[in-house]
Subunit: 420 residues, 2 copies
């Protein structure tokens, strides 16, 4: 491929824009047929995909890549099958395009509606996991968008094999092949060029570590929806039921400690700390969790280590939990406002007034009463497939399902009306 | 005020963030009381406001400022009264904060809702018109936001007098005075610093000429909702009724030629050009409109001048209309896709299928069938007050009423549920 990085990225985006426009008039059936073809192609090409991935894995091992990173990069039969099933599930979801958001008739007889339409061209910038290629591509396509995928260099061969399956499926359904394109080179300036195509790219979604997200946000001239970290709290209010608290805290911390909606900090109301903390600490410590507490926590829970200043607001993504005793709801709200990352914040309380204040006053993408933080997830909240959890405030917040990948237009139908 | 421009802007935004947080728990009644107080204060302080404006006007005249600019800067009794009434009307609008967008109960009994919440801190960067200070401040406040206003240097005295009226009204209703702040200096770096406060500012809205919007977009690190130009078309389809076409075209072009939803280009289906164009051209020319047409248009309409290449896609904001004869709907769609600015696009047609294709295939904030482009306006579409027309695709499109100044959160209420 000739030309500078800028020119090559520009050419890809020009093709994506044309594909996005060609997708607009296509009915749901065509998109769903392409998604089912994706599932078939993935299964048919499994050997080729796994061979490409094996080459990526071998190169990564040679570079001395670590275990967690290798696991993210790795594909096997089950993971390919999961991608295929994912595409089929997306085909089953209702089509958001054309949905009426609101509808009125004005006093002059004009019929006014807001209708969902595709966003256009979405750039997705991500790291190791090759499944993002299919998951994000399929979701964007269902919402009528063209997508430009810029995966990590370590997964380039895997991603090329996967995008080939997507492209063949699009062509088989007479949809534009360029609706899903992979940037076929991995120079870092490619990301910069991609997120500065203001005339051609409508949205950039960075998915990966904080460094990647900051790089995209810093250089983007197109709108960005971020997926920042989750520093999620569980606050046990005065009067919280012990069994409920135990269940929720250990689920929030231990069920899957490495994800963004896992709890990182436990706050307990002073009035009930003695009743609640020791038995809950027992369960956590038995589950292999390290506790880091304020001095009063360490007194009640001898197994806890003293917390340092930087334990507050920290995302461990591991079996570690910061623990603090607070005066009550007001102090818990203060702590969450100061240290939370506006991701997921839960209260356990029998008090309806406190629950209502939590829901209203905590500023987060998801606020939870008497349930685990782990429910902040597209599938659990009823969206079906999702593309991560947005921590931005603009456009969308929380799990990014199909609706989040659309915009709207105003539709005005008259019978010759003019403005007086 | 001490410190560098950056430090002073940062300090303003820190206060705005605190004010935004303090607004969250306040009920509708408090906000509406403050808005009614704004109306009272504006009326009570009319003399002081007009004196401040007279000083701005005198300084502008001394600098040799032109007539149109002076008119935008000018306040008189009627304009102050219009701002006061505007604040009262916003007080009457329903409160968007707390509205439920969607609500479901999951199979596990979790109650899941999406609820509208304030955006947070909104920076508004604008030029001459001092009424934006009150209109935008009042609208942002009603949606529960704090606002940082950065008006033009030419209006600084007027804006200070108006913001003083707003601040006094907030205090009288025990709302945070810092919920509406004016940047009290007008160095250009102030804009740059303001739109780069990623931790403190949630949204920047530039309002004014294209140069200002491009400057903000170029330098912003916070999300921006743009208000770009309107290159709006009216397409007269085969079989369009002459009287309806005449009425719509002359309303779209002549009712208020200087605004973004006025038509700038007329497309006519070849099959009916002879029937439609001459009588419509008569009405337009009689109304003082200059026509610039393709050669076939000039043959049918001797009064038309030949159009140049740069007449297509041009925003005249004046009594000038580009006119082109097209083969039919497909060519009209092509032309609009190539030259339109995705603002407002209208078709006049008796053909339901063509109308449906127009509504679906034209990519614009507002698509119109058999009515004037001039209806693309918050008041006309039923939103009440608005803060301009967004031509962005993300977050919001079209007239920015109260809903566009909010975001949402997910609210999850359980009875001890955990994730399996």
């Amino acid at each position: 491929m000739a030309g500078s990085v800028d020119e090559r990225i520009h050419a890809i985006c020009v093709r994506a824009r044309a594909a996005a426009r060609a997708l607009v008039p296509r009915p749901r059936a065509d998109k769903d047929a392409a998604l089912r073809a994706v599932a078939r192609e993935l299964r048919a090409r499994k050997a080729a995909i796994l061979a490409a991935n094996a080459a990526d894995m071998a190169a990564a091992r040679e570079r001395g890549t670590s275990g967690a990173m290798l696991d993210r990069l790795m594909l096997d039969e089950a993971r390919v099958e999961a991608m295929a099933r994912g595409a089929e599930e997306i085909a089953e979801l209702p089509d958001p395009v054309g949905e009426t958001i609101s509808e009125t008739v004005r006093p002059n007889g004009l019929r006014v509606a807001r209708v969902r339409v595709p966003l256009g061209v979405i750039a997705i910038v991500y790291e190791a996991r090759p499944n993002v290629t299919v998951d994000a591509g399929a979701l964007a396509l269902k919402a009528g968008n063209a997508v430009v995928l810029r995966g990590g260099s370590e997964a380039l061969r895997s991603n090329q094999a996967l995008v080939e399956a997507l492209a063949v499926s699009l062509e088989a359904s007479a949809l534009p092949r360029d609706a899903v394109q992979l940037v076929p080179f991995t120079e870092r300036e490619g990301i910069r060029a991609l997120v500065q195509q203001t005339e051609l790219v409508d949205l950039a979604i960075p998915r990966g570590g904080e460094a990647l997200i900051r790089f995209v946000t810093e250089h983007a001239r197109v709108p960005v929806v971020q997926h920042y970290k989750g520093v999620c709290h569980v606050y046990l209010d005065e009067g919280a039921d012990l069994e409920t608290s135990k269940r929720i805290v250990s689920n929030a911390k231990l069920q899957r400690p490495g994800v963004c909606n896992a709890a990182e900090c436990l706050l307990v109301a002073r009035a009930d700390a003695k009743r609640l903390l020791p038995p809950i600490a027992d369960v956590l410590v038995t589950g292999g969790c390290e506790l880091r507490g304020t001095p009063d926590v360490c007194t009640l829970v001898p197994a806890a280590k003293p917390a340092q200043d930087d334990d507050w607001g920290r995302e461990y993504l591991d079996k570690i939990l910061a623990v603090k005793i607070v005066g009550g709801l007001d102090e818990a709200l203060e702590h969450v406002a100061r240290y939370g990352s506006q991701h997921t914040e839960a209260i356990v309380t029998p008090n309806a007034e406190h629950a209502a204040r939590w829901l209203r006053e905590v500023d987060a993408a998801c606020v939870v009463v008497n349930a685990s933080t782990r429910f902040h997830d597209g599938g659990e909240l009823g969206l079906g497939a999702e593309m991560g959890i947005a921590t931005s405030r603009l456009h969308w917040r929380g799990p990014m399902g199909l609706e989040s990948l659309t915009t709207m237009k105003w539709v005005v139908v008259g019978e010759g009306q003019t403005r007086g």
